[in-house]
């Protein structure tokens, strides 16, 4: 197909022709085109259907404020809905589809909505679908969901990658139009670290869209020359294709850089987009201005667009929506479009100017004091109806109409910290006001300075101000400084189906209706009519709605108020916000030193915090996890097992006050613990609830090694730092985590000592006499490697924990396996570990669940009264010390085959089963291969006095009722003889 509406000139690479498809049809364009400019050049004006009425729509703008030309880009998993054709860079092979139409863009069945528009006015959904209530979920919502929404999702995972990054600068300049470029030049030449970011792929802003001159050269050429100079400065970073989406606290800006959206496919390993956090000491907002439309009946037909956008298409992209064009304006800027298009050979059918004193032109007719009343053309504009000053009417034939109602400064980022724009009477527009984000200065059109000279000068001045530069300001490049006069003209008298928000289909009539129904606040108007709530966030529509509200209320605009803007400036993909943090990369993975060995053994792993721990080690022939776990438990209790317990938190506590410090953080005493001994410790929160438990081993008078549970390691360290820095600043104590420095293994079972004697160097006596229960010490293993040995037991067997520097963990584990062959040494995982600790009645995370106290855990007497510790005072509260408080108990099913489930509640043998009669609950349950039945741990009211009682264990959720007997929690070796063997 030929590019029928392609004009001469423009900033296109005409030597590079790109082919693309739109709704399956082939077209061609050039490098430098957007999808919208290429389609217009190909005489395609119709690009989408509106949200509610499915009205045919074409582009209204040439930028990111676009409400109408919203398309689906690409296909397959990369299909992206709701993309603005006006900013999508054309690439070879691009495929795009129109949205919100069925079966085709030209014939849309849902356009029937347009016929019923009288019923679909503001608040339609609220009014209609409220009754009957039961219909909402089943009927209304599914229908609305199907009919609403613009594009469709691919329903596949996003195959692209996204990055996050951090950049710092002295001055961030947002927007590379004349103000931003001149600011960057001024700041860059001083050597300051400058970042210049612009959402466009070509820097220059309006200079690329205009024919005006700077320093005797075309504006676009001056922009290109300036960009080239900036690129040569090492202290200036140019970030094109980068949208600053939000201004956050203390000079932090969010910016989305599109790295490969303009390519057919991102190069391997390259991100599609990067979300930058930019830390700016000072910020200069040069975001320019957005042209505002005038509302008149049927002002939404394809071909009707903002006048300056029409001009941008002609000048920058050498494209026009039609060969015969009319202009409707209330200011001089509209005339510029007529002049530029005329110069490009486009026929100007007339300039309709609302001002009776509008300037006349030689080359085309100007209708002074006239306005457009209606338009015609089913799928694209064909005629406009004009009411002339003398009361006559005219019908003008044209394929496009450029509309200009003046300009609104782009104040969005100034509002992100609740800065409220102020009304400027001279401009009839809101300008930045209130409290701007700290460190932000605004220049150029964004500040309401609309002339080119003004933009260049204010950019340079603002840069000098931001950097605190003194002395003579450098000369401002020559440019036009014509005054810009804007008089308000929001809508044509008497119009009704005149669109304000084209994407969400909000008309002048809707705004009037909502006013009639009592919606007086701007925020309420927005929510009731959905004005400004589409993907464009009302960039072209909010002002019109506000102006009409003001008129209806009989108040000036500033008194009606304004809505402020919030991030993001333009729609941002969720993937961009996620960055790399998805799937397995959501958090880091921690591996123990013997992980690779465990993998070789075919271990099944479980995530514990960020750690991967071996859960069990299946042997050939084992088909169910219970087979592996039962075997591991039995083998350990019978001979010897080895378990990787590297993941337990380890904190080195040193200093002359180390024991005093531990006395404060543990509820039980540590001051008298002898060197070479280990003690169990329970840590409470200040409110008396148990926080964590572990052991503390005294390696020297002034050194302890404290262990924490795997899951609480970071939290306990943080708590200990709080106590050290905030509560005991005068204590001589130093803390550091050593969790990952040591590979640590539990060696458990009656043969554990025999196995270790083959590893530990012979000059260390680890006999029961030389190294009794709860002993600890520095040793050497395997011929001189420094190691630590602790005689502690979680399994209830004779057991040790041995630690070596992490790099030797793998080798030590292999050595233990080789040396242990004689004893059928068995590696065991976290499941067997759990079974053995339940058999032994040791509390773990399930019991230390954030609601239980030392008393509940059966450790009430551990809370020392002889000293003050965190939580000791509040654990004395009467509420935590009731006579029949919950106490930890053991449970066995009355019938050996019955199941015991964690989470189930305990009820008396007879009587009602309800919350009022609740006796307690089960925290842990497991099949005990040692006892041959399931067993459980739990908390029972007055549990210490109810041994032997039969209760019902109920779980209404799983419809379970089982009779259980209350027993001692110490199922195995209650006297503790084995650990001392």
């Amino acid at each position: 197909m030929t590019q029928k509406n392609r004009l001469a000139g423009g900033q296109l690479d005409r030597d590079t022709t790109l082919s693309f498809t739109f709704d399956g049809k082939n077209y061609s364009g050039h490098l430098g085109d957007t999808l919208a400019s290429a389609l217009l050049a190909n005489n395609v004006r119709l690009m989408g259907r509106s949200f509610k009425y499915h009205r045919p729509r074409g582009p209204l703008t040439a930028g990111s404020e676009e409400p109408n030309a919203i398309v689906e880009l690409r296909s397959g998993a990369r299909q992206e809905p709701n993309t603005r054709a006006t900013t999508a860079e054309l690439f070879d092979g691009l495929s795009a589809k129109s949205q919100n139409r069925w079966p085709s863009l030209a014939f849309d069945a849902m356009a029937i909505n347009d016929r019923f528009s009288n019923f679909l006015t503001a608040g339609f959904y609220y009014k209609t679908f409220m009754w009957p209530a039961a219909f909402w979920e089943k009927l209304y919502e599914p229908i609305i969901r199907k009919a609403a929404g613009l594009g469709s999702l691919s329903m596949q995972a996003d195959p692209d990658e996204y990055d996050k990054g951090f950049r710092h600068c002295d001055l961030l300049i947002i927007g590379a139009g004349p103000a931003g470029l001149n600011a960057a030049l001024t700041a860059g030449r001083t050597g300051a670290h400058v970042i210049l970011a612009d959402e466009d792929f070509r820097m220059g802003g309006r200079l690329n869209a205009e024919t005006l001159a700077i320093s005797d050269m075309a504006g676009a050429d001056w922009a290109a020359q300036t960009v080239a100079e900036l690129a040569s400065l090492p202290n200036v970073r140019l970030m094109a294709r980068t949208t600053v989406i939000g201004a956050f606290d203390h000079g932090i800006y969010g910016a989305v850089e599109r790295i490969s959206d303009h390519l057919a496919k991102a190069p391997r390993g390259k991100p599609r987009q990067i979300l930058w956090r930019i830390y700016a000491k000072q910020t200069l907002l040069c975001a320019g201005a957005t042209e505002r439309p005038i509302a008149f009946d049927n002002n939404d037909r394809p071909g009707i667009m903002l006048a300056a956008s029409l001009r941008a298409y002609a000048n920058r992209w050498a494209a026009t929506p039609a060969q015969r064009v009319a202009i409707f304006t209330n200011n001089d800027d509209g005339h510029r479009t007529a002049q530029d298009l005329h110069a490009k050979g486009v026929k100007i059918a007339g300039v309709i100017d609302t001002r009776p004193d509008a300037p006349r032109a030689l080359d085309y007719e100007v209708l002074q004091g006239a306005h457009v009343t209606d338009t015609k053309g089913r799928l694209g504009l064909t005629f406009v109806e004009v009411a002339c000053a003398d009361g006559s009417t005219r019908t003008i034939e044209c394929g496009a109409l450029g509309v200009s109602g003046g300009w609104n400064p782009n104040v969005h980022l100034t509002c992100h910290q609740r800065g409220r724009p102020t009304w400027d009477d001279d401009l009839a527009a809101f300008v930045p006001g209130g409290t701007l984000p700290p460190g932000m200065v605004v220049a150029g059109a964004a500040q309401g300075i609309f002339s080119t000279h003004g933009a260049l000068k204010s950019g340079a001045d603002a840069a000098r101000k931001a950097l605190g530069l003194k002395g003579r300001a450098p000369a401002v490049p020559d440019a036009k400084d014509s005054p810009v006069i804007q008089t308000p003209f929001w809508y044509v008298e008497g119009c009704s189906r005149a669109w304000l928000d084209q994407q969400n289909d909000v008309t002048v009539k809707d705004v009037k209706l909502s006013h009639q129904e009592g919606f007086r606040s701007v925020e309420h108007l927005k929510r009731y009519t959905t004005l400004g709530m589409a993907t464009d966030q009302g960039k072209t529509s909010n002002m019109g709605g506000l102006a009409i509200m003001a008129e209806l209320a009989g108040k000036p605009i500033p008194e009606v108020g304004t809505t402020i803007f919030r991030p993001p400036y333009t729609p941002t993909a969720i993937g961009t916000l996620a960055g790399r943090m998805r799937g397995k990369e959501f958090h880091p993975t921690r591996l123990t030193p013997s992980h690779y060995w465990a993998e070789e053994r075919g271990a099944v792993f479980v995530e514990v915090g960020n750690w991967l721990r071996a859960q069990w080690f299946p042997l050939p022939g084992e088909t169910h996890w219970r087979q592996s776990v039962d075997r591991e438990v039995t083998a350990t209790r019978a001979s010897v097992g080895v378990c990787d317990c590297t993941t337990l938190g380890k904190i080195d506590v040193q200093g002359t006050d180390a024991a005093t410090f531990l006395n404060k953080v543990y509820c039980n005493g540590f001051a008298k613990l002898a060197v070479g001994k280990t003690r169990y410790g329970l840590m409470l929160r200040e409110d008396g609830v148990a926080m964590d438990d572990g052991t503390a081993a005294r390696l020297a008078e002034d050194q302890f090694v404290v262990t924490t549970t795997t899951a609480n390691a970071a939290k306990v360290y943080q708590h200990m730092e709080f106590v050290r820095q905030c509560l005991m600043p005068d204590a001589d104590v130093q803390l550091i985590s050593t969790t990952e420095a040591w590979a640590q293994y539990a060696v458990a079972g009656p043969n554990s000592r025999r196995l270790l004697q083959r590893i530990v160097d012979p000059d260390h006596d680890i006999s029961n006499e030389g190294f009794p229960f709860m002993a600890c010490g520095n040793i050497t293993v395997c011929g001189g490697l420094r190691a630590r040995l602790f005689r502690i037991s979680f399994s209830g067997e004779l057991a040790f924990e041995i630690a070596v520097p992490a790099r030797y963990g793998d080798a030590l584990m292999r050595k233990l396996m080789a040396e242990g062959e004689e004893y059928d040494v068995t590696p065991y995982g976290t499941e067997a570990l759990g079974v053995m600790r339940i058999e032994k009645g040791h509390a773990a995370g399930n019991e230390l669940n954030g609601t239980t106290t030392a008393l509940n855990l059966g450790m009430g007497r551990m809370v020392s009264k002889a000293k003050d510790s965190i939580g000791s005072k509040l654990s004395e509260r009467p509420g935590l010390n009731e006579a029949k408080a919950l106490m930890q108990i053991g449970l066995r099913p009355v019938r050996a085959d019955d199941k015991v489930t964690a989470g189930g509640h305990l009820m008396n043998a007879t009587g009602p089963v309800d919350a009022a009669h609740d006796q307690g609950y089960v925290t842990s349950a497991a099949f005990s291969p040692t006892l041959g039945c399931m067993i459980g741990l739990g908390f029972l009211k007055d549990g210490g006095n109810r041994t032997g009682e039969t209760l019902r264990l109920v779980s209404p959720v799983t419809d379970l009722t089982v009779e259980v007997e209350v027993v001692s929690a110490h199922f195995v070796d209650p006297e503790g003889e084995r650990v001392r063997a």
């Binding site: 203390h250 970071a714 709080f722 600043p729 509040l874």
Partner: protein, 90 residues
């Protein structure tokens, strides 16, 4: 937010963990405090709309706990100090 660390200069608040109101440093004297004192310490917070002194733990940095004076309505930070005062190096 950016917290101006007294030793390390401006750092992103993402490197910190919030620990709560700075009143947590005023733990009641276990010898003399009443039950009400302990109740207040454990449970009662002012939650002001305005200036608030609070603790931030530089977990991702030097592990210092900082007392940050922040306006909760604007996030303006007017003072930052170390919870544990640096010792004079005598």
């Amino acid at each position: 937010m950016i917290i101006n660390h007294p030793l390390l200069g401006p750092r992103d608040s993402a490197e910190f963990v919030y620990l709560g109101a700075a009143e947590l440093m005023n733990r009641p004297d276990p010898e003399t405090a009443s039950a009400e004192d302990w109740h207040g310490y454990a449970y009662l917070r002012d939650n002001p709309a305005g200036v608030h002194r609070e603790l931030w733990f530089h977990e991702g940095g030097d592990r210092s706990i900082l007392i940050v004076t922040r306006d909760t309505t604007t996030h303006e930070i007017s003072a930052v100090e170390l919870a544990r005062k640096p010792r004079a190096q005598t």
